[in-house]
Symmetry: C2
Subunit: 171 residues, 2 copies
């Protein structure tokens, strides 16, 4: 079973955290929510989900985790201001560990500069930024690149996103 | 006196709309707020400012305006999903009309693909996207490029942003 690091700030897209986290846990994986501070309560932008962080980014070790999950909404753009989150994300990409990113989640991958020549999707508004970052952008419900990078566009794509993420974790 | 088109959606950074709009009007310019719909009430992300739109993007004509103002917050990322706003913004850049963009405002310029080799600044989190779009990114309170593109990073920079924008309008 995998230890999944989830990076989160306020204004995340509620269901893009809650549904994959539920599915990952039901499949026996461990989901750790990492924020700027430990024990902080974060709220989704729809105000439907509240999540208490399990750890602060300053205290976690890359090696404690097998995979990375980046929910969307405005959370990723807030997180990428902080160099610690950017370095953390870079580790997963450079170690070829699985990364699951949906909606605006790939913004963190842009800032970590790990998208050159990778096949990816994301929320419509950031397609231009993904292309400019050197990625090969697809407009489809889910894209699996290199067997370890799973990306989707929006809440509608959650069933496909969860299915392919679980598939990568099962291999 | 100039007719200034302001493009706005919910979740704009409150003071990044209210302070420049007030200064532009006090200097005798006309500020028209353009949204997806006419007569809609938009709310800033700090919930301090409510703004009623004067016109819908589908009914305005480029030639009705002399300059463009793009406040920041999450509003620009919402607006750039809509091709009509992107085309509208592209017109100002291609006609060399003044553009004033602060914080996340330049995201609309990225999607309009008008930033190649232009000197610009913006909110810290989008510097990488601006660079990837071909712009020459500066980390300073205000950047004036070509005498008509004025950009700033954040609310702290508002005095410099307003000063330089008014200066461009006065010429």
């Amino acid at each position: 079973m995998a230890k999944i690091a989830t990076v989160l700030a306020n204004m995340f897209e509620d269901v893009e955290y809650t549904e994959p986290a539920k599915a990952f846990r039901e499949a026996g994986h461990e989901v750790t929510v990492i924020g700027t501070e430990k024990g902080a309560t974060l709220e989704g932008k729809q105000k439907e989900a509240q999540v208490t962080t399990n750890a602060a980014i300053s205290e976690v070790l890359n090696d404690d985790f097998d995979a990375l999950f980046i929910p969307g909404g405005f959370s990723p753009d807030i997180l990428r201001e902080d160099e610690k989150f950017v370095k953390f994300v870079k580790h997963f990409a450079e170690s070829d560990k699985p990364i699951f990113a949906i909606c605006h989640g790939p913004q963190l991958l842009i800032t970590a500069e790990v998208l050159k020549d990778r096949e990816i999707t994301g929320y419509k508004s950031i397609h231009v930024d993904l292309k400019n970052a050197g990625a090969d952008v697809k407009d489809q419900e889910v894209v699996v690149c290199g067997g370890n990078l799973v990306t989707s566009r929006q809440p509608d794509d959650l069933p496909a996103f969860i299915r392919e993420s679980l598939n990568v974790l099962g291999q």
